[in-house]
């Protein structure tokens, strides 16, 4: 008679393990089939589209704030690292997923020399993926760079 309960408990164990395996299989299947997370470059240092410039920025508030107007300092060099000090820079951007632009119109307010430019009026009014597009016009040529920010 003692064999009887043992068989019962083994059956319970087997069915519990079965459920566990099924749960894991469903999870693994979902992980395999789910689209991979988008791979975007979120570093604050990038190369312009045509490779004419190396562009990086720093912010006066860290981390990049939401709901607060703040400034950036943009550094512009040639790929060889020589500062580009006489560029005209325009800033644009928005949230591609929401189809809206920036809430403000940021501008270069000061050429700090040595390829560094102060950009004022940066503002992000929600968290999420923002794209900042930098148009650069300088002796090496016209080019543009894009920063992707995850806020």
């Amino acid at each position: 008679m003692p064999a009887q309960p043992a068989t019962g408990s083994r059956r319970v164990m087997r069915s519990v393990l079965g459920v566990l395996v099924a749960v894991l299989a469903v999870y693994a299947g979902w992980k395999l089939l789910a689209p991979p997370p988008p791979e975007i470059d979120v570093s604050y240092n990038t190369v312009s589209a045509d490779g004419l410039y190396q562009v990086m920025f720093e912010t006066d508030v860290e981390p990049v704030p939401v709901g607060e107007t703040h400034s950036w300092v943009l550094s512009l060099t040639t790929p060889e690292g020589a500062p580009v000090s006489d560029a005209t820079i325009l800033i644009d951007g928005g949230m591609p997923a929401h189809g809206h632009g920036l809430p403000t119109a940021p501008q270069v307010s000061e050429n700090l020399g040595e390829g560094r430019y102060r950009i004022e009026g940066m503002r992000f009014n929600m968290g999420g993926h923002w794209e900042i597009r930098i148009a650069i016009s300088a002796p090496p040529g016209d080019d543009s760079a894009v920063f992707n920010l995850e806020l």
């Binding site: 408990s9 319970v12 164990m13 939401v66 809430p103 403000t104 119109a105 004022e120 009026g121 009014n125």
Partner: protein
């Protein structure tokens, strides 16, 4: 032994499944978002460099007197508090504010407005003090005029004014009633005044606004049950007492920070992005065309009391809101400011002209996402279950002041 082990494994499995589906299971991202909405995350009140009396306690005390002073109106019967009722979150529960006559816009509550870069539903002013001046001269609101305000301040509050702002200019020779926005007779009287007298009266007028702003800046959003909840969740603790949320409130919070897309505009500790959005709110029948933000940018740029103006205390470089204001954004057509949702549940009716009577009808609006009367609505429509609607409303009520 073996049956007990089986039962233990089953219990463990059941608890794992329950934990994964239970209401307590906020992800790290969700916890981060919940914390970001809490009052504990509110930044210090931003300086207003355009108003050097902004944080001056005597100016704030004087501003409080002026706020309740019906002498600052054409008929001696309207004060700021007529519409901004202190006991009702400084608003009036009317679809549209009523001063001397009914206006075209819902009275806005005042708590936390000192954090906003732009004032009014369409952002047509860039400081609290410039905002406070507009209703004083509006014929449907206070219906007053500038020389009458200056005379009234001299008669009723001369000493307090002088102690804060310095001596009043000579006023005895000026007309009792004159101003650039009054009746034709008042406008003519204003034009007949010397440039110097007009500037002197404008200065007094601006200082009235600066005192009102200093008072209004002291009105901060009160802590709510949500804040208590969010602070506990942020620390990884289980909210207890009044901080504990019902399952329905938790569900509403989940919807709010998730699929209902509320955070796109209602984010940060004040639950507003301080920006302007076209959400397809119906036009007000019988009112003149209203372009919202798109119609306000030029007015703000031309306002003599803006941050660049003569009466501003700020160097132009400090006028950030004005310097980097967009003037060309097509999305601003019929866009209105995102209101804070703090206290909103007990503050019907809703929208910039009180077009929507109840929270339920607001949710219905966001669900249906109707086309905008002009411009393009940003709404994409959200499908809510009946329970989801109830949950969202239950959550919004947790943002009411604790009684």
């Amino acid at each position: 032994m073996a049956p007990r082990a089986g039962a233990a494994v089953a219990a463990l499995l059941a608890s794992l499944i329950l934990a994964a589906c239970g209401p307590d299971d906020f992800s790290d991202d969700e916890r981060k978002i919940i914390r970001s909405l809490s009052l504990a995350e509110l930044s210090p009140l931003p300086d207003d460099p355009s108003n050097r009396f902004a944080d001056d306690p005597p100016a704030a005390a004087f501003g409080k007197t002026l706020f309740f002073d019906a002498g600052l109106s054409g008929g001696g019967d309207i004060s700021c508090a007529t519409c901004h009722k202190a006991e009702r979150q400084f608003q009036d529960h009317l679809p549209r504010g009523v001063g001397v006559a009914r206006t075209d816009r819902r009275t806005m509550p005042l708590a936390g407005v000192g954090w906003s870069p732009f004032l009014f539903w369409d952002g047509r002013r860039d400081s609290f003090w410039a905002q406070a001046l507009a209703p004083l001269e509006d014929p449907r609101e206070h219906a007053g005029n500038r020389t009458a305000f200056a005379h009234h301040v001299a008669d009723a509050h001369g000493d307090r004014y002088g102690a804060i702002f310095g001596p009043l200019p000579p006023l005895a020779h000026l007309p009792a009633e004159a101003g650039p926005k009054g009746s034709p007779a008042q406008q003519a009287a204003w034009q007949a005044m010397s440039e110097e007298d007009r500037r002197a009266v404008d200065r007094v007028f601006a200082n009235i606004g600066k005192a009102l702003a200093a008072f209004e800046r002291t009105i901060h959003p009160p802590r709510t049950r949500f804040d208590l909840f969010a602070e506990a969740v942020g620390k990884g603790e289980e909210p207890a007492g009044i901080a504990a949320f019902t399952p329905l409130e938790r569900e509403g919070l989940r919807l709010f920070i998730g699929k209902a897309n509320c955070l796109e505009c209602h984010n940060g500790p004040r639950l507003t992005d301080d920006h302007f959005h076209n959400t397809g709110v119906p036009a007000l029948a019988g009112a003149p065309p209203d372009r919202g933000r798109a119609g306000a940018v030029a007015e703000l740029a031309a306002d003599p009391f803006n941050c660049f103006g003569t009466f501003s205390d700020a160097p132009a470089a400090a006028c950030t809101a004005l310097r980097f204001m967009r003037s060309d954004d097509p999305a601003m057509e019929r866009a209105y400011k995102t209101p804070s949702l703090r206290g909103a549940a007990s503050r019907p009716p809703y929208m910039h002209a009180g077009q929507i009577a109840t929270l339920d009808a607001v949710i219905d609006h966001y669900s249906r996402a109707p086309d905008a009367p002009s411009g393009t609505s940003e709404l994409r429509g959200v499908v809510f279950t009946e329970r989801g609607r109830k949950a969202l409303i239950a959550f919004l009520k947790t943002l009411d002041p604790i009684p």
